[in-house]
């Protein structure tokens, strides 16, 4: 069942006329006849969980929004999709821009926002044009601007480009950046629902979350809530990549097993060249990596499904997270140490530098990993690495510290033998990784001639 990508294959669906012809903007017409509280209630009934990664119930988040008299409120669409392995929002915005606009209009009405922002990743330059064109089309047809559909509701949507910082995907850093400041996360509380953009009550939602509001209104919150499993309702976009025969963006039901998703021809079509599955990161690079035995089955031996509860079953010891749905698959030829080093490099580069454990710790982790990967590591480095990540996790202002620590922790937990192999076979490790010289630190003496 497809709720978001149902019409994605239709030619010209990017443009207003085609979109409208295929039932577009019905939810706006319906929602504007409801009261804002009724819409919030529908979203609550639907059980929709935020699709950005954390999975917080959207209706509940909306109900937290402070409503002081005479103070404007804002809705911000988080389109700063920068998590490695995650590219689903890009697909939505590129092919179905009006779906997002539609969701934004309904959500803005529900939240009482008259100025709504799409904070988009700077690298998605061409999508900015697509969105702006869609906004203009919606405006020309009376769905945006003053007095929408004669209901007296005014709304402007502004597209704001980020400058390419991963941290600006964190909601408070996004707000700082939107305000024109350095994209540093704020310390919570106060939460954005109380003090957000320009100190006004603000809701920040992911692109997919806001797009999902459209089918919720069209079919009713209860009907939407009946789709899915347990607290994972509706459908989820998954961006599958890595060693897969058919990587891409898929809209999946929550009762799909991980095994089916990887191996079934309907979905990813298995691993290329008949190689075996080694590990997978199912929710974007920041969630823990899991080996095959724990990916397909839980620790209790039950089938693992593609939903929030099943993937996190067993905690981080034996489970992982659905996260943002960036499904990265590693086959048996992939090196987990190299992979973890690459991720550590990313998190070091993207740390905002505001708090000490993340600023100093991410670089330290990367350097230890680089030494191990290059065959320069010592056995005690593995324990040191474990200790460093342990002291970063949970001690930082924002979740970037956790995002940097979890992949390292999970890699050591499940693949310690590979780390030890690099230490015990330094010459082979060095030879194997000759092509990684670009990871050298400019301040350091290169470890490879």
């Amino acid at each position: 069942m497809k709720l978001l990508l149902e019409n994605a294959h239709i030619e010209g669906i990017r443009y207003y006329d085609t979109y409208r012809k295929h039932g577009g903007y019905r939810s706006v017409e319906k929602a504007l006849k409801m009261t804002p509280d009724e819409i919030v209630e529908e979203v609550k009934k639907s059980g929709l969980r935020g699709r950005g990664g954390a999975g917080f119930p959207t209706g509940l988040k909306w109900s937290f929004l402070a409503k002081p008299e005479g103070v404007p409120r804002h809705l911000v669409c988080n389109a700063d999709e920068s998590e490695p392995g995650t590219f689903k929002d890009r697909y939505l915005m590129e092919f179905l821009p009006h779906l997002l606009i539609e969701g934004l209009i309904v959500s803005s009405f529900a939240l009482g926002s008259h100025a709504t922002y799409i904070y988009i990743r700077g690298e998605y330059a061409w999508i900015v044009d697509i969105l702006e064109q869609a906004i203009q089309e919606a405006k020309n047809n009376g769905f945006l601007g003053k007095n929408i559909l004669g209901t007296g509701f005014d709304l402007e949507i502004y597209v704001h480009r980020g400058a390419g910082a991963y941290i600006c995907g964190e909601e408070t850093a996004l707000i700082e950046s939107l305000e024109g400041k350095r994209g540093n996360p704020r310390i919570k509380p106060p939460f954005p629902a109380v003090q957000g953009v320009w100190m006004r009550p603000t809701v920040v939602n992911n692109v997919e979350t806001l797009a999902a509001v459209v089918p919720i209104i069209n079919m009713g919150g209860e009907a939407y809530g009946n789709i899915g499993v347990g607290k994972s309702t509706g459908t989820k976009l998954i961006s599958a990549c890595g060693n897969l025969n058919k990587p891409g963006v898929y809209e999946i039901p929550f009762d799909l097993s991980v095994e089916d998703f990887i191996y079934s021809d309907e979905w990813c079509g298995g691993i290329p060249n008949g190689r075996r599955l080694k590990a997978c990161i199912p929710g974007g690079s920041s969630v823990p990596i899991v080996p095959t035995n724990l990916l397909l089955k839980t620790a209790k031996g039950e089938t693992r499904y593609m939903n929030y509860e099943s993937l996190s079953d067993g905690g981080f010891q034996t489970g992982t997270m659905l996260g943002s749905g960036g499904f990265i698959v590693l086959d048996e030829d992939q090196c987990v140490v190299k992979h973890t080093m690459t991720l550590a490099h990313f998190y070091m580069h993207e740390s905002c530098g505001q708090c000490s454990p993340c600023r100093e710790g991410t670089g330290w982790m990367w350097r230890i990993l680089k030494n191990i990967e290059y065959g320069k590591g010592k056995m005690e480095d593995i324990d040191l690495l474990w200790d460093v990540q342990r002291r970063i996790e949970g001690n930082t202002i924002c979740p970037l510290g956790d995002a940097a620590a979890w992949p390292v922790a999970a890699a050591i937990r499940h693949f310690r033998d590979e780390f030890e192999w690099h230490v015990l076979h330094p010459e082979e490790a060095q030879q194997r990784n000759y092509g990684l010289a670009h990871y050298a630190d400019p301040r350091e003496i290169p470890v490879i001639a």
Partner: protein, 363 residues
């Protein structure tokens, strides 16, 4: 105005009552220095400070009387407000001790241990923090981060290698001087304090960035390398200043004023901001009305060999015999520094051996 309710908070088994809205750190400070967490970036006089360095992390073992659940993560005590019945563990929590040890280790990765030549030695918060909460050694074996030398005008020197990015100086410039010409560039471990296109920081109160810096990253060019703080005698003094309160601490050696700073409380925070003129330009004892010795915490290295409370006898001999008293021992006979007629505080920039040699030649 309605009276604010008082909340009962227990920190490391010490219970205090504080008004609603008080942070855990402020409550702990009221409870006493024994239970107060250290703070490198928090500064009560600066709005929005705190939360960054993570040295003040504490464990909330009981949220409140209403909701006694513990908080799952350690929280930054400087930014977390108290609830009625809250129970906090600082030094009594193993998690906190371990996390703080980790933070000290992180901070010292790129902070050079150049205390023997650093002007902040003796009054450096990081020195105290690492002594009280850090480990015995480092496990970091990689090359340290370095930065180009950077000057912030003719009065303030920036040593970016020592900076721990607490943002206090940026907030001082923002909130106190009315114009901010410096901030943080880059991100992650490459982040650095820098000014905009080599502009100098010359606003009226900008000198206060030196006082708020917890480490030796921002130093006073009129004092650098002139003396060690524990050799100096801190005195409370004031003058009739049209710009600021004029209440300062003079750092003297003999009658010579080596340095002027704002007065700091027991938490190392400035009591009254002072202007640049008082700080940089009034370097003569005659510019000031001396109030008396400044009380420094007896645990500080600065208080060594200083006898606070001792009343100096009135020097009457010159009045009686009508001439200067004869010295039994002239310090210059045994010390290489401070040759007579050499006023170190008037030397432009840091004093080097050449200054003394020159002095010898002039003799």
């Amino acid at each position: 105005m309605a009276e604010q309710p008082l909340f009962k908070v227990t920190i490391d088994n010490v219970t205090v009552e504080v008004p609603a809205g008080t942070t855990i750190l402020q409550a702990a400070r009221q409870a006493g220095p024994e239970v107060a967490p250290p703070a490198m970036c928090y500064y009560s006089k600066l709005e929005g400070s705190g939360g960054k360095c993570r040295t003040c992390l504490v464990e909330v073992s009981k949220g409140s009387d209403k909701d006694p659940r513990p908080m799952p993560k350690l929280v930054a005590s400087c930014r977390t407000t108290v609830m009625d019945g809250m129970e906090v563990k600082n030094l009594t929590s193993e998690r906190v001790v371990d996390a703080r040890k980790g933070v000290v280790e992180f901070l010292l990765i790129n902070h050079p241990l150049d205390c023997p030549i650093c002007d902040q030695a003796g009054e450096c918060h990081l020195q105290d923090l690492s002594y009280n909460h850090g480990g015995a050694g480092t496990r970091y074996e990689f090359q340290r981060r370095t930065f180009e030398k950077h000057t912030l005008g003719d009065k303030i020197q920036l040593h970016m290698t020592r900076c721990i990015l607490c943002y206090r100086c940026v907030m001082v410039a923002d909130q106190l001087t009315g114009k901010r010409e410096h901030g943080v560039l880059e991100r992650g471990e490459r982040a650095e304090i820098s000014d905009y296109l080599e502009k100098s920081l010359d606003k009226e109160f900008i000198g206060n960035v030196i006082d708020v810096c917890p480490v030796g990253a921002l130093t006073d060019k009129t004092f650098r390398f002139k003396n060690r703080v524990w050799f100096l005698k801190p005195l409370n003094a004031h003058r009739d200043c049209p710009t600021c309160s004029g209440k300062v601490t003079l750092w003297n050696r003999g009658d010579e004023v080596y340095r002027v700073t704002a007065r700091k409380d027991q938490w190392g925070e400035v009591e009254d901001w002072i202007c640049n003129e008082c700080r940089f330009d009034k370097k003569k004892t005659s510019d000031w009305i001396i109030e008396g010795p400044r009380v420094i915490n007896r645990h500080s290295v600065i208080s060594q060999n200083k006898y606070i409370g001792m009343v100096n006898p009135k020097e009457t001999i010159d009045e009686v015999i009508g001439k200067e008293p004869r010295l039994f021992l002239d310090i210059h006979d045994v010390s290489e520094v401070n040759k007579p007629n050499r006023d170190l505080s008037l030397i432009e920039g840091p004093a080097h051996s050449t200054d003394f040699k020159q002095n010898e030649e002039n003799k």
